[in-house]
Symmetry: none
DNA sequence: GCAAATTAATGATTTATTCAAG
DNA sequence: CTTGAATAAATCATTAATTTGC
């Protein structure tokens, strides 16, 4: 979504960058073509290009707009780091920090081959017919749900407007079901 | 019921799968109540529930009809992906300018690898204010989120032969996306 | 009205990326 | 460089929804 800073249309007239007033170079503003090719290179596996590669890439990208070698270098540094960061965020959608502390808590230790992944048990639960579970629900503070919202990265490619408050405000859109029990009650079992 | 391919006649489609009288082992057929609660959870921000959450959700939903944990897992996977697909139209190049200066480059205290040439020459092209290698630390959350060790690996309920070529044959037909002009050509300058 | 035929939804599976550890 | 873990993307396959001919 809106990252909180002005987003400039890349490739559109920005004189300080386009070469008009070249005295003090503003910062590089890549064009869509440049980003596309860089992304392709990244997808192809390139992570830390050599100096030679950087110069070749820069030369190639200069066809689409002003660019310097350092821009290419920084782009790969940043993109690599942000992919990593995004991966961490996405993977941490789980907001229940108080559990699973002992499982795989030793990343540096040798992992035996018999290690069973955690989620496999989900599928190994034999679908024994309904066991009429009359389990008492444990009521946890709803703040955990709020934390789940935070984990949905704001810099994501996809719009994820799913804030906790939005869950209520957007109910008007689905006119079919007007009556809903309070969400906080329905979700309390988590 | 001629879906265009031979009917496997494996599960004997019973419509009363999710309704409560689950007898057949066809695919899960959620009830409206189950879908409603799952949707509420999704609206509240839940995207990738942990194993523990999945089990709790499954337990809760079993009150409304037969369900397994894997159904909950699959539901979130599918719903997340398909919501994303619906909003895919506004997808633009997601390039973030916020942290233009990357600091892991710090050439002052990190010696590049042997096979990686020195990078200082890159910056000598136009060294302006960009080189503020101020060694700021990446601030990761102190409570490093304990990620539920999960795996999507499932024991195949069905054994089916996968037409590997089908996945690629369809690529040429979808003219809507026009993604990826031959990467080999675009990267040939390297 | 009714099923067969067709289409739309969606559950379930496979494949491709990515990071990270060894 | 190889491999494991996790997940997103793609796609297969089944069920409901809808259409259609009678």
């Amino acid at each position: 979504m809106s990252p909180g800073f002005p987003i400039k249309a890349r490739g559109l007239g920005h004189s300080t960058n386009g070469g008009g007033t070249g005295t003090k170079c503003g910062r590089w503003n890549p064009t869509v073509e440049q980003v596309k090719l860089l992304t392709d290179l990244f997808k192809a596996g390139l992570r830390t290009p050599s100096t030679d590669q950087i110069q070749k890439i820069s030369t190639e990208l200069s066809f689409y707009g002003k660019i310097e070698s350092k821009n290419v270098f920084y782009w790969f540094q940043n993109h690599k780091a942000r992919e990593r960061q995004k991966h961490r965020k996405i993977s941490s959608v789980d907001f229940d920090h108080r559990q699973y502390k002992d499982l795989s808590a030793s990343p540096h230790r040798y992992r035996p081959r018999l290690h069973q992944p955690q989620r496999k048990d989900i599928f190994e639960v034999c679908d024994e017919e309904e066991e009429k579970v009359t389990q008492t629900l444990q009521l946890f503070p709803l703040t955990k749900v709020e934390r789940a919202n935070v984990t949905a990265g704001s810099h994501s490619v996809y719009t994820r407007e799913q804030a906790y408050t939005t869950a209520f405000s957007t109910y008007s859109t689905c006119g079919a079901e007007m009556e809903h029990p309070p969400l906080d009650l329905r979700l309390s079992f988590l």
